[in-house]
Amino acid sequence: MSRPRRERRSVVAVEAIGAYVLVRVTRGSLDPGIPGQFFMLEAPGRVLPRPMSLCLAPRGELAFLLDPIGPGTRALAALEPNDRLHVFGPLGNGFRLDVERPLLVGGGIGIAPLPYLAEALEQPPAVLGFRSEHHAEAAALLPGADVVIDPVLVTDAMPGGRDVLACGPEPMLEAVRAIAPDAQLAWEAPMACGYGACYGCVVEIDGELKRLCVEGPVLCSS
């Protein structure tokens, strides 16, 4: 696994994609890592950086898809080309890629790690769920995916007999796990550091509180 590095990178572009925002930064000598790994992005004016899954790794760039829901993500969404920010990663454990019949499942901003994952797995089938047409515009990042919109759920549209790799809100992941017990699921938790220093991101794993940034964010559900 590649050692995480922290570098001051430049913003290449900030593009709206439906309700979300794609922030592209220069790659420098950062390693894009394994799909499902994440980076800590400096959020201008905030005390703590914000964890973001790598969404795309165009040549010479790293691209992050974000949902501007609070002060940190809004500060990131307000970046302009040539602005500079510190980027630290890749961090955590990504998806295992040695699966036979992959199916990607994403809910809302949970689509973020899937484009880069799809590339690694050579464009497997995917099911994406969104809460509105506007949000669903982000499906353009994953051409060929099946898209459902609330009140239809991804679990209504998931074909069986597949190796599921999923990312999305907690209730979605719980529902996916219920029908695909072996699924690889990418979880979230509030993180201060992303590299095991703060013990802020613990979640219950195998009956114990463990650091999601070290043990995850991708966990095997069973």
Binding site: E42, H86, P190, A192, C193, A197, C201, E208
Partner: protein
Amino acid sequence: MQLLNASGCLDALTAPDVASSLDAFVTKTVTPEPREGNTPVRIAETDFGMLNAIGLANPGRDVFVRDVLPRLCDALDVPIWVSVGGFTAREYAETCEQLARDEVACVELNLSCPNVDEAPESAAEIVRACRDVTAKPLYAKVSPHSWDMGETVRAIEAAGADGLSLVNTLRGTTLDARLRPTLSRGTGGYSGPALRPVALAAVLAARRATSLPIVGMGGVETGRHALELIACGATHIALGTVLFADPDAPTRVRTELAAEIKSLGSGSAEDVFGVALDAVASEVNSATR
């Protein structure tokens, strides 16, 4: 001047390279029994700092001594300070006894644990109980909630402490959009930039009361911030919250501090040590117009 991490702000086993960039590594507080810590949500950002309610998650002193300490020694070249917590003076002292090993360079007594009354008598009682059983250097870590820092510090020194660590977090709360406390516990420790003036005042007050070494901390993000604590009387500096945003902070802060000292025309941190105290004593500018 030594650069340390603040207790609970770095795991040397997960990030040994960061720990090795310090002059000494301070462990997370070790308690007698293992503690799983608080139910999440445990951390929250505020506008000018952060809150944590980790809840002293640690494996307990037995596992720490048997299992963690040897691994820390293997992983690190720098001295190891062990932070000790508990609920009674006796618990602190028993942990100190267990830490009588070459691998432990220094013991930091975390006197700001939940349920530990931090009135001067009680802090002094803990220090004295530990002093009785250990020859290791003993640092007492004090909360900024102390009403009379001078009194607290004198009591701790009289009880036999070899140094002070200042400051621990303040108590703080933050609410989410729906007006519920963001942290499950409701309240947590407030650290980061907002703490800087509080840390400077605490170190200044402590330095007036004692000549013991002081590890200054609280919102240090740059060499300039470290310099200000040194000017207020800190002999060493610890980095806490900044490590979450910047694991390279130790090297950066060290470089910036050297540049700051040089730009003042001084040779080393020692030249700047305590200069803020002299200034207050000498400068009472009576305005006449």
